[in-house]
């Protein structure tokens, strides 16, 4: 760890914090239907979208109608992405002449992108045509993010509203989130990226005469437009196989910094939006504080572990001069920015990478794994992080209520058995999918274990990371695992579907239940949710739920590997 690294990390956290309030206010205004700046340009588009689709944006839905619209829209999106991939060979803008991916790979990618996961079993430049990247993947990057934000907003409306079953109009929420939040910021970011060297073209792959007399094929394509939204929408799916480690996706330290900001911009802003909508700004900041504490802890551990380097390297290699463990990292980013990115991308459900997590030291790799396993509530995905956190808050309020022996209340909502049942459903489905499918995979020598790239404890980490990432809708990977097989494409696809839809339904059910409640005025017995004490309790509940669930398997994977490494064992 050095001063330059620490200064860069501190600057990042300060800038993010400064942006939280303005972004949060802006998000709240967009979903309240108020006028915003981009309306001058996008207002006519918004109105014509409603007209074409024959939607009345003023008609509000109850939670079941909202859920049905979410599911149907997602289904149509998934089918569309599947078909575009399968028909790719016959569609335009395919200068490299790429044939369509296999059915199981297309299924995996379709569910992955429609759910905002962006797990990628394929490698972009050898698989997807420019047409597929634009019309299938870029579009899903927008709309799946807009759906996530809409669901978070519905949850917050459920908390803020009383004695109603109306939670908003799904179509209006999706359209407004896309047009007024995602599209303008993506446009500006994409143009900045191009100025720095991110490519945006429709060229054939270039053939370069290299200095040592060989030929280098240089993959091209419309990358910048996709990269901006892949970060802003916390999707994370790279244009190229190695994602934001690729110099065409992330050419300079400045693009790196801006991409990292985009990853947490909306999730951080949502904490302020929460405070504003429930009319308790201090509650928003308390939630922000809890998230920030966990984020800083993750960054510190990851940066420290990577700075130590790999003790198994021979003495003839100077790791200190390079800053630490450089396997799988780019020189322009170095150890500090790689460790920072790995922590952010898994705190959010982003999953893009600027270095290879598979080659991190065991503890450096533990941080991204644990971040996802804590439920991606450390800021979390756009929307998904907020509603995940709200479930944790409800649990915290419940536990606090048990401790003092009173009926738990949350911002005027009495928390009852039905709400807790739904919250527990949300919490229990996650480890069931992660641990269950990991266990099944490692019991199958052919379908499961033959995909491993590394032996021993690290091999278990690879499989565990894959199912954690898929169920958590994150999309990052210990990428050595060859996941482009029938078993992994299918099982990870199922994990992704479980992780999205089996969690959305309880979330909507709680939102509907809370909205229907009568407001309980705060009394002396109410546990305040706007204090540091609340933030501490919230952090404790997150750590206890996540850590206790996953500690046994983590002790067999990264923790065991760490002990082997410091004892000089090579596998």
């Amino acid at each position: 760890m050095n001063v330059y690294g620490i200064v860069q990390i501190v600057i990042y956290l300060v800038v993010l914090t400064l942006l939280t309030k303005p972004v949060g206010i802006y998000i709240a205004r967009v979903y309240a239907g108020e006028r915003t700046g981009p309306e001058a340009v996008f207002g006519p588009i918004e109105r014509s979208l409603y007209r074409i689709c024959r939607v009345d944006p003023a008609t509000e839905m109850n939670w079941r109608q909202y859920g049905a619209a979410t599911l149907m829209f997602s289904l149509v999106c998934g089918v569309s992405v599947y078909l575009i991939q399968r028909l790719q060979y016959f569609l335009p803008l395919n200068p490299a002449g790429l044939s369509g991916p296999s059915p199981d790979s297309s299924f995996n990618t379709a569910v992955s992108f429609m759910t905002n996961t962006n797990w990628q079993g394929y490698s972009g430049e050898t698989t997807m045509s420019y047409f597929t990247q634009m019309t299938a993947l870029t579009v899903q990057n927008f709309v799946s993010a807009a759906v996530g934000m809409a669901l978070a907003i519905v949850f917050i409306r459920g908390i803020a509203r009383f004695e109603t079953d109306r939670l908003g109009n799904f179509w209006a929420d999706v359209v407004r989130g896309t047009l007024y939040i995602l599209l303008p910021i993506s446009l500006a970011a994409a143009i900045f990226f191009v100025s720095q060297g991110v490519i945006q073209n429709f060229r054939e792959y270039d053939l370069a005469q290299t200095l040592d007399g060989g030929i280098q094929t240089i993959a091209q394509g419309p990358a910048a437009s996709q990269i901006a939204i892949k970060q802003l929408g916390t999707n994370g799916g790279g244009f190229f196989g190695v994602n934001s480690a690729h110099p065409f996706e992330n050419p300079t330290p400045l693009t790196d910094f801006v991409q990292m900001l985009l990853i947490l911009l909306i999730p951080a802003g949502f904490t302020y939006t929460l405070g504003r909508m429930v009319r308790s700004q201090r509650h928003g900041w308390a939630v922000y504080g809890a998230m920030m504490v966990l984020l800083i802890a993750g960054i510190a551990l990851s940066y420290w572990a990577e700075s130590q380097g790999n003790p198994l390297f021979p003495g003839s290699v100077d790791q200190a001069v390079a800053g630490g463990n450089m396997e799988g990292k780019e020189v322009r980013f170095g150890v500090a920015n790689s460790a920072l990115w790995a922590t952010l991308t898994t705190a959010a459900s982003n999953g893009s990478v600027n270095s290879m997590h598979d080659s991190f030291t065991p503890l450096g790799g533990l941080v991204p794994l644990l971040n996802i396993q804590l439920g991606e509530v450390i800021f979390g995905g756009v929307g998904a992080g907020m509603y995940g956190m709200l479930v944790m808050i409800i649990l915290t309020v419940f536990i606090a209520g048990l401790m003092v022996g009173r009926t738990p209340e949350y911002l005027g909502n009495k928390i009852e058995a039905y709400d807790i049942k739904m919250a527990m459903l949300y919490i229990l489905i996650f480890p069931l999918s992660v641990l269950g499918l990991t266990a099944v995979s490692v019991l199958m020598p052919d379908a499961g274990l033959s995909s491993l790239n590394n032996p021993g404890a690290h091999g278990l980490s690879e499989v565990l990371f894959a199912f954690t990432s898929a169920t958590g809708n994150n999309g990052s990977a210990f990428a050595g695992l060859n996941a482009n097989t029938a078993w992994y494409n299918t099982s990870l696809g199922i994990a992704i579907l479980v992780g999205r839809f089996y969690m959305i339904i309880p979330v909507l059910a709680i939102a509907g239940s809370l909205a229907g409640k009568r407001e309980v005025p705060a009394s002396l017995g109410t546990f305040p949710v706007n204090t540091a004490m609340f933030a501490v309790l919230l952090v404790s509940v997150i750590l206890i739920v996540g850590a206790l669930t996953f500690f046994p398997v983590l002790s067999l994977s990264p923790i065991l590997e760490h002990l082997q490494m410091i004892n000089g064992q090579v596998m």
């Binding site: 330059y4 689709c53 939607v55 149509v76 999106c77 569309s80 490698s123 634009m134 019309t135 579009v139 927008f142 179509w171 896309t178 143009i191 191009v194 490519i199 945006q200 073209n201 270039d206 370069a208 005469q209 290299t210 200095l211 040592d212 280098q216 094929t217 240089i218 993959a219 419309p222 910048a224 190229f240 190695v242 480690a245 690729h246 110099p247 330290p253 790196d256 380097g309 790999n310 390297f313 021979p314 003495g315 003839s316 290699v317 100077d318 001069v321 396997e327 799988g328 990292k329 780019e330 020189v331 170095g334 270095s355 032996p455 404890a457 210990f478 990428a479 590997e561 490494m565 596998m571």
Partner: protein, 190 residues
């Protein structure tokens, strides 16, 4: 049925806007304002593409500065980016690093090799090495080319970028730019 109809129309309209208009708008602005960057920052020599400023190349001749080892295809395949994804305790990684360090120490100075020169990058296409890794190679390149070490150091300095705005990222040396300039220098001497 109404829901299916609305969903399909909405996706179709969104696809035209977000999958068509949006990328084309970025393409138009990019081609107009930043044509070189938007097309891959290509370097031309004698009218032919010689590579990209942003993409590393394999350089195996001792008269050139070596790039980092690469796991992309058979080395710096810019149509198949990849990291090694080898874990820290994997024997394959440890042995590969040791062999690479031995090879570089054999014809280099008798001091430890900077780590970036024996590790693969995340992309397999890293265009840079650290200033320490460049300095490590200066004596070899100067000897192979028969030019003064001081002159080689000047060229290295020319292709070294500091931290952006003095803060962000790491100092780095662009290997392809440096190697091309070395060739140009040789031409002028002759």
């Amino acid at each position: 049925m109404k829901l299916l109809y609305t969903s399909t129309l909405m996706l179709l309209a969104m696809t035209i806007l977000l999958g068509g208009v949006y990328p084309l708008a970025v393409w138009g602005v990019g081609q107009l304002l930043f044509p070189s960057e938007a097309n891959g920052s290509l370097i031309y020599r004698d009218g032919k593409v010689a590579g990209s400023r942003l993409i590393g190349q394999r350089s195996s001749s001792p008269g050139y500065f070596y790039s980092r080892p690469s796991a992309a295809g058979d080395g710096y395949d810019a149509a198949a980016s990849a990291g090694s994804n080898l874990g820290p305790t994997n024997r394959v990684l440890i042995e590969r690093v040791a062999a690479e360090a031995d090879r570089l120490s054999f014809d280099g100075p008798q001091r430890p090799v900077p780590a970036d020169l024996v590790t693969t990058s995340g992309s397999g296409l890293d265009p840079h090495i650290s200033p320490a890794a460049a300095e490590f190679q200066v004596p070899r390149v100067a000897k192979e080319r028969g030019i003064a070490e001081g002159r080689v150091r000047e060229l290295v300095a020319k292709y070294t970028s500091g931290r952006e705005l003095g803060i962000f990222g790491e100092p780095r040396v662009n290997v392809l730019g440096l190697n091309i300039e070395l060739d140009e220098t040789a031409k002028n001497v002759r």
